[in-house]
Amino acid sequence: MEEGKLSRKDFLRGAGGLLAASIVPMSLVEIACGGRGKGTHEKFTFAFISDPHLTHIKGTNFVRNFDSGLNKAIETVNLMFPRPDFVVFGGDLAQLGKREELDHGMELLSKLKVPVKFVIGEHDYYLDLGKYWQDKISKLNYSFDHKGVHFVVLNSILTYDTWINRWKTPEERMNEMARLDNPNGSPFMVGDDQISWLKKDLENIKSGTPLVVLSHSPLYKIYKPWNFWTDDAEKIQSILDRFDNVTVFHGHVHQVLYNQIKNISFYALMSTAWPWPYPESYTQSPHYIPKMTVFMNRQDPFHERDGTGWAFVNMDNAREEMHYKLWENKDRIVKYDESAGHPVDSTYQKPESRILPQTHY
């Protein structure tokens, strides 16, 4: 056994034997929680749960499938050993921003045995413009330090006032924003107020400090017709420019997706609710999917949990390791490759090693 790694036996002992074996994917034991890193910060792990889209039907009824995705993530985190220091929630707790949905989500998340850091998604925001979220759940943007790493949470799903004022009712506004392929859509942005706040927040942070930015939408531009897009992304990237090591984790895209722009590594998180196809599968308009990304397997709707999952992040050597946990598919590990200068999929980067389902449909 390598130092700093967990053996399967250790894991099972820690997590409670047979109970864990029946619920947790066995591949979890592969997680390395330490190593020979040169990082100055203390090593730690955190989990990331995103995009459950809990949907209220009527009364106390919610869409069963989406509830079960979030519950599965919560149970798995609670059974992990060592327990992650905290969970980042990546946004879109609700489907239509309803209080019933947010309350229901908070009730499910209250079963987590670790603290949660919240990021707001557009589905949580556009009914009341974030009021209930701020009152009951979390601030929209904030920062915190953890074991030598500076974390910044941004509300990246704001948009133009002209678009917000275009709709007659809050419900209409929410419904328009909730439709991904909406030709009446409006791109996301962080906005100048928050950009000023970000500058100020980073003022006293040394350039060598590992920086982790948490947002809902990707802080770069991928595909505008589906709003895989943040309009003022370049402004934020330029503020982060002076740091040696920046990682952005985001939700929203419901797929395995990563990128490197100069000093910034970007990683997308899986949804626990349903997967999205890659924009390139819509042939009517061009897209900017990063070339380095190895696509996830096609989803098979026969399996409710296929194409969905969550992630486990390992901060080691001041660089993160992204463990995509795909519940009905093979797990994926994406690591920053020092020689390549960008993240690479540790198994499937070479075209000849890609498995069949990644290209078929």
Binding site: T55, H56, I57, N61, V63, R64, N65, Q95, R179, L180, D181, P225, W226, W274, P275, W276, P277, S281, Y282, T283, Q284, R298, Q299, D300, P301, F302, H360, Y361
Partner: protein
């Protein structure tokens, strides 16, 4: 039976048929020049408009809660009808366990993720859904059976 008599009758019938056909085409041909269904640009515009209307109905169904029982919509998993691959049907569909058509798969989705009731294959809603899906996948290469 007398062969000659029969032949004579046949000749008469042929002549009568010939006259009938000539008159028919003379009248119909003349009329059709005025009232006929010959193709011109306005026909095509009309047919295209009818098709696009059906596509629009399909788009609406695809983006609304009407088909299902739990508010879930087709477009949630299939923005712009992606990952529907109509050009690959008929094909073996694992969920259904046999070689299936796109309509059967549409019904599978309505019954399972959407928790709704299946549509008749000639239901105008089914045709509208099919029209929208096909339109969004226009210019794809026809590949029946492909996975």
């Amino acid at each position: 039976m007398d062969d000659r008599h029969t032949l004579g009758n046949r000749s008469k019938s042929k002549i009568l048929l010939g006259i009938f056909i000539s008159v028919f085409f003379l009248i119909f041909g003349t009329v059709s020049l005025v009232f006929g269904d010959d193709w011109d640009k306005s026909n095509e515009d009309k047919w295209n408009a009818a098709f696009m209307e059906t596509v629009a109905r399909g788009e609406k169904l695809f983006h609304g809660p009407e088909l299902g029982g739990n508010t879930v919509q087709c477009a949630m998993c299939h923005p712009n009808a992606t990952n529907t691959h109509p050009e690959t049907y008929p094909k073996f569909q694992k969920q259904i366990g046999k070689v299936s058509t796109l309509r059967e798969m549409i019904n599978w989705c309505i019954q399972n993720p959407l928790q709704g009731k299946p549509l008749a294959y000639d239901d105008p809603k089914m045709i509208a859904l099919e029209a929208y899906i096909m339109f969004e996948r226009r210019n794809s290469v026809l590949a029946p059976g492909k996975h």
